[in-house]
Structures are given as C-alpha cells and as structure tokens.
C-alpha cells in the first residue's frame, strides 16, 4: 500500500476513530450519568472501561495509535478521589511521560488527552468527548504511528 504519511488534513466527512479508556468508578460512571441525563455527544469515542486509570499501561496508548486510533483519551477520578486511593496519581505521572514522548517524536499534541471526570460529571464527560472529537477532526487521520495494513 502506498505510504499515506502526508494526507491532506481536514478531510471532508472524516470521522475520527477514538479509543477512550475510562476508569470504572469515576469516568465510566460519569459517562453513564451523561447517558442517564440523555446528553448528546459524538459517537466517535469508543469506551473501554478499565479498573483504574492507574492500570493504564503506556502500551495501551502506543498500541491504540499503532492500530490506527486517531485519538486516545484516558480519563480517571480527580486527584484524591481515586477509588483505589492513589492509582490516578501513578497514572498522572505515567501519562505525563507518555504524552511528552509522543510530542517529542512528533505526534500531534491534540491526539492524546487525559481528563479527570468524576461520577457526578456527566456534563463534563460529554464536553470532554465533544471537544476532543472536534480537536482530532481538525487534525485529520492519524498516519504517523499507524501500521500500514
């Protein structure tokens, strides 16, 4: 297949593929609340519920980009609110490092994002996804780390 490295950005009708890793206790619950409240947001982000943002291995992020994700979102409990006491603090440090590395090798900043969304923040969850999808749309398809398949 041809190298699609430099595709024109802002493709019309481009629907980004986004993987959203949500911690079970806060962000997934917040996402449930968004549902219960019938808030509307774009359907691009497919949720994967993990136990805790602290269990977010950097491999998951890299692999998602390798498998063709246009954006990756990690969301956990606010600092101090972790269901597992401090998992999100470990996550914060690790995700910070992953983000710096991705930026350094030249992946666009807006493709990887972390947020704190509590179980009560359905509105915030919808907003985070909405904004992320908008930002990723502007960037066009992610070709830099995507495996040619």
């Amino acid at each position: 297949m041809a190298n699609v490295q430099e595709t024109a950005k802002d493709e019309p009708g481009f629907e980004p593929k986004i993987v959203a890793f949500l911690c079970k206790w806060c962000s997934s619950a917040g996402s449930d609340l968004a549902g219960v409240s019938r808030l509307q947001y774009p359907s691009n982000a497919v949720p994967i519920t993990i136990m805790c943002s602290g269990s977010m291995s950097p491999m998951f992020v890299l692999s998602a980009f390798n498998k063709g994700a246009d954006g990756v979102l990690v969301s956990g409990c606010h600092p101090g609110d972790c269901h597992y006491l401090k998992g999100n603090f470990y996550a914060r440090r690790k995700i910070y490092l992953v983000q710096k590395l991705l930026q350094f090798i030249g992946l666009e900043n807006d493709r990887f994002r972390m947020s704190w969304v509590s179980a009560a923040e359905g509105v915030k969850f919808a907003g985070v996804v909405d904004e992320f999808v908008k930002d990723v749309k502007k960037l066009g398809p992610q070709t830099r780390l995507k495996a040619k398949r």
Binding site: M59, P79, F89, R92, Y96, L97, G106, V128, R144, L145
Partner: protein
C-alpha cells in the same frame, strides 16, 4: 591520570585471594580501536587488563549477563564478582540494585573516576583525523588523548573527541564503589545536560516527525540497542516474536496467549513502537551511558530519544536515576505536586 597499574594490582589481588569469582574489565580488541569487555578469572589473565579512553562499553551489562549465565550453569559459587565501573556504569549498577537485580554484597565495584577523562567518540575521532585510521588511543594527561595512527602519535584535546554523554555527565565520579581510582577533578568543563533534547524540542512538530520517521524507517531491528542496555534485562522483550520466558509450570494457554504488541516487520510503525516502548520503559532508569546510540549500525540517535524522558525525570520530577539504590523508582512513586495542568 588513572593509574592502570594500580587497578591491575587490585584486580590481581582480588583474584589471588579468591575474594571474587571474576573481574569484569576491559582488554585490547583485535577488531579495532575500542576495547573489548572481558571477564578475567585467573590472576595471570589480569596482565591483559587495560583502562583508557577506548573503554566505552557499560560493564553493568556484563553483571546482568553473568547472572543469566550462572543461572544457566546452576553455578553455586557464592563469591562476589568484581567489575570495573566508570561513573555511568556505577549509576547503572545502582539502578540494577534498586530494582533488586542483585544483592549489593554480590558485587565488588572497582570505581574509575571519569572526572578529567571520559571516553572517546569514534565518529568524532574519525572526523578529526579526516580519513586517517586510529589504531591506539590513550590518556594524555587530564585534558588530552594520545592517538596513534599510521603517521605516529598525536595529542588531541579530549573535549573535542570525547563522547557527548561524557561531556554532559552529571556523575563522572562513581558514587557507588568499593574502591575508587582516579582523581576527583571538579573543574571539568561540562556541557549543559539535555542540550540536544532541548534543541530538538524547539523544532516544529512536523519537522520533528519527519526526522524521527526517517530514523524509524532505517531501523534494522537488530536489537543491538536493547542487547547492549543493562536495563533491558527482561526475561522476554515486548518485541520477541514467541513466548520466551517459560517455566515448568507455564501452561499451554499462557504460551499461546502471547500479546503481539509489535510485529517483527522492520517498518516505520513497528520500529516506532519498539523504540517508544523502550524509551517509556527506560523512563527513570536510563543513566545515559549512550551505548544504544553508539552501537546502532545505522546511527539512529537513540540517546536523543531516551534522554527526553530523563530530562522530565530530572527537571519535572526531581528524579536522578542511579543516584539512590534505596529510593522507589520513578514510575512506582508520585508526588502530590506532580504536574496536573495538562489534564482536562
């Protein structure tokens, strides 16, 4: 100046008394200018031991290999092994001790101070010699290296042909040592640490990507970078294509369920994955011996990649790998004051 004779005498005495199993050090290589790591086991073999600017390799790796080999041969010789360690080698040993890879008492560290010396960068040397071929290199006082070519011996300023990591070294005098050789010279001119990383960070992101994409495209996946790294001591690497670490109780299910995070194909995306996973796994563990960059046959600037997160460890998290064998590691610890503003 390092008193090589004194190092030899010490090593010889250790082996004569039998207080150590072996001494890991350097000897002359038949393959070229650079020294060859060697495991000296008899007192008489120590006659071949050398120390000089050609001793570039990180000998901490050989402690790791020694552990593997002993496991293979089911060796029960409980005596420690001695190792010649420059500042960076000693830092690597500290990280390995921090990760409980060995017991402190199993290692006798023969520290060699690089303050005032450092090791050679063969590419810089080749540039300097402009086509002439160096066959020998030695210290020439504290500021210069004596280089022998077909035309004879010449003295070159050390700072001009020294490895970049030595110029930026923040711990040239081994902190971890049972005995240390070489002077503590504190007025050594240092380059600012992380200057190459910081320079690269100033580039436009798209240009940075073009740069790295070219590097990842060139990667051979010979895994020399992994193989030479003392921190890459995992039983099984994420890039290995089969289930590798197997115990008698490993089930068929476990063998079959190997995750293929990275394909073996040497193409851009897979090599990018490989190098990024390595960089992430080295965060807070890379002690900047730059061996990965030196051994790369196609010159991928791996030191640049791997020190990016070291810069964060040092500047953001106040974490200096290889400085404290009792501290928790970078990623298995946190502070309440860690950056938070990047999170929405």
């Amino acid at each position: 100046m390092i008193d090589v004779a004194a190092i030899k005498a010490h090593a010889k005495a250790l082996l004569e008394k039998g207080t150590v199993r072996a001494v890991i050090g350097y000897r002359n290589s038949t393959a070229g200018l650079l020294a060859e790591p060697f495991v000296f086991t008899g007192p008489e073999s120590v006659d071949d031991l050398i120390y000089g600017p050609s001793c570039v390799q990180n000998l901490a790796l050989y402690l790791v290999n020694d552990k593997k080999e002993r496991a293979h041969h089911k060796s029960d010789d409980a005596r420690p092994v001695a190792v010649v360690a420059k500042g960076c080698d000693a830092r690597a040993i500290t990280v390995l001790l921090q990760e409980k890879h060995f017991l402190r008492e199993a290692i006798h560290v023969i520290g060699v101070s690089c303050e005032g010396t450092g090791v050679v960068d063969t590419k810089k040397l080749a540039r300097k010699l402009g086509g002439k071929h160096a066959v020998e290199i030695d210290f020439d006082g504290g500021e210069a290296f004596a280089v022998t070519t077909a035309d004879g011996v010449q003295s070159l300023p050390a700072a001009e042909i020294m490895a970049e990591r030595c110029l930026e070294c923040r711990g040239a005098h081994p902190q971890l040592a049972d005995i240390a050789f070489g002077e503590a010279k504190t007025d050594r001119a240092l380059h600012t640490p992380f200057q190459a990383v910081k320079h690269k960070m100033k580039e436009e992101q798209d240009n940075r990507w073009s740069f790295w994409a070219r590097q990842f495209d060139r990667c051979l996946r010979c895994y020399a970078c992994r193989s030479v790294c003392p921190m890459c001591y995992c039983e099984e690497c994420v890039v290995d294509s089969i289930q590798f670490a197997v115990l008698p109780d490993t089930t068929a299910e476990e063998k079959a369920n190997r995750i293929k995070w990275i394909e073996r194909s040497p193409n851009r995306s897979e090599s990018a994955m490989y190098h990024m996973v390595r960089a992430i796994h080295l965060a807070g563990r890379c002690i900047d011996c730059a061996e990965c960059e030196r051994v790369c046959p196609v010159n991928i600037p791996l030191r640049l990649l791997n020190t990016r997160l070291e810069m964060e460890a040092f500047e953001t998290f106040d974490y200096n790998p290889g400085s404290d064998m009792n501290a928790p590691t970078l990623t298995s610890s946190f502070k309440d004051t860690d950056p938070n503003s990047f999170i929405r």
